[in-house]
Symmetry: C2
Subunit: 565 residues, 2 copies
């Protein structure tokens, strides 16, 4: 088997890592009250053993397999059922529910692991000539349905795993750019850059299990995008294998060469070809980094402060604020104090809340905020001074660096919670968007109303929470997390759809986008005409159809409906 | 006639404004020595009177004209020869030479002036149904050949002048965005925004004679792009009329909705439709603004300092540096001192040069640099402190704010110089590019060699100069200006092509782009396969062909060759 790290076939991340509520005493009471599930008593739904699943047989022909083996070698042409199931989907709630149920409408017929860019190019050409469907695969962390074959696909389906293309090829330190193979996972990429004193600074929640190529293909955004930019800003050049040959965009700081091909490849989710190599902006590792926490009396004032920071001369690496619900959740997932120092700190926290209540705060409306300062000692000090004034003006108090360190430590853990909840027949998921500053409050209000409307229509309690992150001159991202107990009727997918659809519809109805950084896939494609207008989808469909007339490049993603429709 | 400001039919800008060398005593000796033309004695080539030109008759049919009149009213359907000639081309050297020679291969048959977005939409649909060619026209300042009909075009050609669509429609001050009609000229746009205490901050050299829609269609960049961004960064949403209806992109700070339609419309030069409305980022007018000048001993140290500023915590609105040739030119176009104070300053300048020579500077290698500081008093002071250190470290001396004020005053005058030189059978033109920091010096060296090779092959002296501006994390723009005396053989176009082509070819051969902010048009289209790779042009052609199967939307621009090729 190729030496490539894969996630669990049944859930997020790697075997042996999971969400653990036992060290977080406030968690169980919180989810019992807010979501309606008692994690101590809820029946744990057994996941099937892999052997119990009926995995459809590969339909790849011997001739096809032979031709693939000639390119990548026999060891890199994989028909193994478990690996084919690992590659059949991403990690959306729908993906997880279907996988756990052994409900695979269509599984890739073969997984290929090319070791060089030339091999990728030859496979793309082969696939085109043999009329095989080609689905590029990075870390498999998509939660937008970007990785599954179409259910009724009759052609041979190849999942092209880029995992062996994981090298930083060269670095131009003077220009601050690095040429990097697309299949490298986040931690491996940062290790290679850090060894040279450099960083990409791109840290999405999926960081540990997603790849550079995947970030580009889905228009990812990392939590430090305020400083380092979205992946669209970070990418300066790239190479993409297409049936006709390599599309090569050189590393340019800016250009006026017509419509941007770089910005067509960004977000293309495999529809235009297979991204093999990316030239990205890299930065010196910052001299200093500190994450400070603040508490606001309410979300309106917190939003105003975040906008104030964006407009100020300060330039923090990130600024985010949780609304009251997410703040409560965040406090409920604190680990129990186990050392004397932590016990003091925990008691101090309770004392602080009492003090704030005495001052007239409604502690149920409190919103926690994290601001990350990076750079020279002087820059960090200057930014802290500017932000301190803004925070004060909007009624916030400073909680210091303790909670910030905690935030930094657990920032990658949240996706594991979904699996924990699913084990207890409870759905947990996320939807995120972006909108102008003037519409953020109304978008949030509308989404809350829509989610609660959906919960109500299901007769379920349901919970939703939100944070704001990723600030831009003209607006910001709102990130929602919701949960509800599934019925035992076997209609979980439909119930999930009711809530998820209500939220997505509210986004576009409220002047927000269908996704700020999770991409489109099949999850969001139904709203594309509302997001970019029907004429916009017509232009985009024209691009896809003209670029891929055989419709072999990850068909069915981004735009709904058959080719030509 | 519609109340729309047009440029001269024969040259840059408006009647009554021209380059005046008589107030600049060092200019004549400079161009005599460096370019080889004596502006006092050179024969002034008379421009033909408009009446002397043979303007091809309009081919629009009565039926077509009637249908246009029904949409926009009779007064906005213009067949006037001079206005048709104003609309036949932009202001490239080729355009100017052909226009002066009355050499019009194809002139638009009619100029239409829609007054509303709805009228634009109806005209686009009409043009499509009647198989008419449609060329959107803003300020007509293109120097890339984006505005002329194809020479052998057999269909009726409409020039669609957006000049009546010139209103700021609404402003969302909280989000820092404004919705603005595409046909507004720079000064009018800034006047409307300034009245609300706001600015767009987009100031290309063409500012006075170019429009918002034109900036978007050509991927313009303004001199203050370091602070405000290129137009691609500034645009958040837009509306574009297409035969099938309006393509509408909402005002979003960021989105992951597949390949970016926004970035397809940007730079599309009319190939995808007619941009009618743009939502842009706007900013509060800065409290303080100062442009300081610095002098470097040589260009290498100046480049290193510009990169140093980009990497620093300072964020000036612009930083530019002229190479030694451009510095000499800049000094040669200073106005003669007419007041006592200016005479002292002028004498002081001579004294300063003597002092620098005494310190070991080669004053022939000196490079002048301008840095613009904007924002709060505190921000300006902080940035100045940081830059001062960087400048000192790279051997520069500060010249104060006097030259900066001068620079600010004359920044829009340079294009008039081309007409002045053309009157004296001398070609003056510009080519600009962008490249990573590590390649800027070599790009400049190669371009100098290529230009001088071309001059030599023509047997002409020739002059070339360069400045660096528009800093990005990974590189910057190099902007070249060149001049040479044309032969009297009537082969001026060919001679011009020899020099221009040599420079453009050197750009792409040296890892630089074919244009940083002038667009492609027909001037640069031959190098598109080298700039974005043949696969890249294939994808782009697919986009154009699929989006405009009748090939009526400004055909022949950006990509060379007939549709489908």
């Amino acid at each position: 088997m190729p030496d490539v790290e894969h996630q669990k076939w049944w859930g997020w991340g790697v075997e042996g890592v999971a969400f653990d509520h036992t060290t977080k005493p406030a968690f169980a009471p919180f989810v019992e009250t807010r979501v309606g599930v008692n994690v101590h008593t809820a029946a744990v739904v057994g996941r099937p053993r892999f052997e119990q699943l009926a995995v459809p047989a590969s339909r790849a022909t011997d001739g096809q397999l032979d031709s693939f083996r000639k390119v990548v070698g026999g060891g890199n042409v994989v028909l193994d059922d478990e690996l084919r199931v690992v590659h059949w989907a991403g990690k959306s709630v729908r993906d997880l529910l279907r996988t756990r149920a052994g409900d695979f409408p269509r599984v890739p017929d073969v997984v290929l692991y090319p070791g060089t860019e030339d091999e990728v190019q030859r496979l793309v050409t082969l696939a085109h000539d043999a009329d095989c469907v080609l689905i590029p695969f990075g870390g498999g962390s998509s939660i937008s349905g970007s990785l599954s074959p179409e259910p009724d696909e009759q052609r041979t389906v190849i999942s092209l795993d880029l995992g062996r293309l994981n090298q930083v090829l060269d670095v131009d330190e003077h220009s601050g750019i690095a040429r990097i193979q697309a299949g490298v996972l986040g931690p491996d990429l940062e290790d290679q850059l850090n060894a040279r004193g450099l960083t990409l600074g791109h840290v999405p929640d999926s960081f540990k299990h997603s790849t550079l190529g995947g970030w580009v293909a889905t228009r990812s955004s990392g939590m430090q995008s305020d400083k380092y930019g979205d992946i669209a800003d970070i990418v300066r050049g790239l190479r993409m294998a297409r049936p006709g040959g390599a599309l090569v965009l050189r590393d340019l700081p800016s250009t006026s060469s017509g419509p941007s091909l770089r910005e067509m490849v960004l977000g293309s989710e495999g529809r235009l070809g297979v991204i093999t190599q990316v030239t990205v902006q890299v930065h010196r590792l910052p001299e200093k980094r500190v994450v400070l926490a603040y508490m606001f009396p309410d979300f309106d004032r917190a939003l105003a402060a975040m906008r104030g920071i964006q407009r100020s001369d300060a330039g923090p690496a990130f600024g985010r604020v949780s609304d009251a619900n997410e703040t409560s959740f965040s406090l409920a997932t604190q680990k129990a104090a186990t050392t004397a120092a932590k016990k003091v700190s925990s008691a101090g926290q309770q004392g602080l809340w009492r003090l704030l209540r005495a001052r007239g705060w409604d502690t149920n409306q409190m919103c926690i905020s994290y601001i990350c300062y990076e750079g020279s000692a002087q820059r960090v000090a200057g930014d802290r001074r500017i932000v301190k004034d803004i925070m004060k003006r909007h009624g916030a108090i400073t909680l210091g660096s303790g909670p910030g360190e905690l935030y930094d430590q657990k920032k990658f853990d949240t996706p594991y919670l979904r699996d924990f909840l699913l084990d207890r027949s409870t759905i947990g998921d996320v939807s995120e968007t972006a909108a102008p500053w003037s519409r953020l409050a109304i978008v949030r209000r509308n989404v809350y109303a829509a989610a609660h409307g959906a919960f109500e229509s299901l007769g379920r309690r349901g919970f939703i929470m939100c944070h704001m992150s990723h600030s831009y001159h003209s607006g910001a991202c709102l990130y929602f997390t919701f949960a509800f107990v599934a019925s035992t009727s076997g209609r979980t997918l439909e119930e999930y759809g009711r809530v998820k659809d209500a939220i997505q519809q509210t986004f576009v109805d409220s002047g927000a986008t269908l996704s700020h950084h999770h991409g489109v896939g099949t999850e969001h494609s139904a709203w594309m005409p509302e997001d970019v207008s029907p004429e916009g989808t017509a232009v985009m469909r024209g691009l896809f159809d003209a670029s891929d007339p055989k419709n072999i490049l990850n068909p069915g993603k981004i735009l709904t409906g058959p080719i030509g429709s």
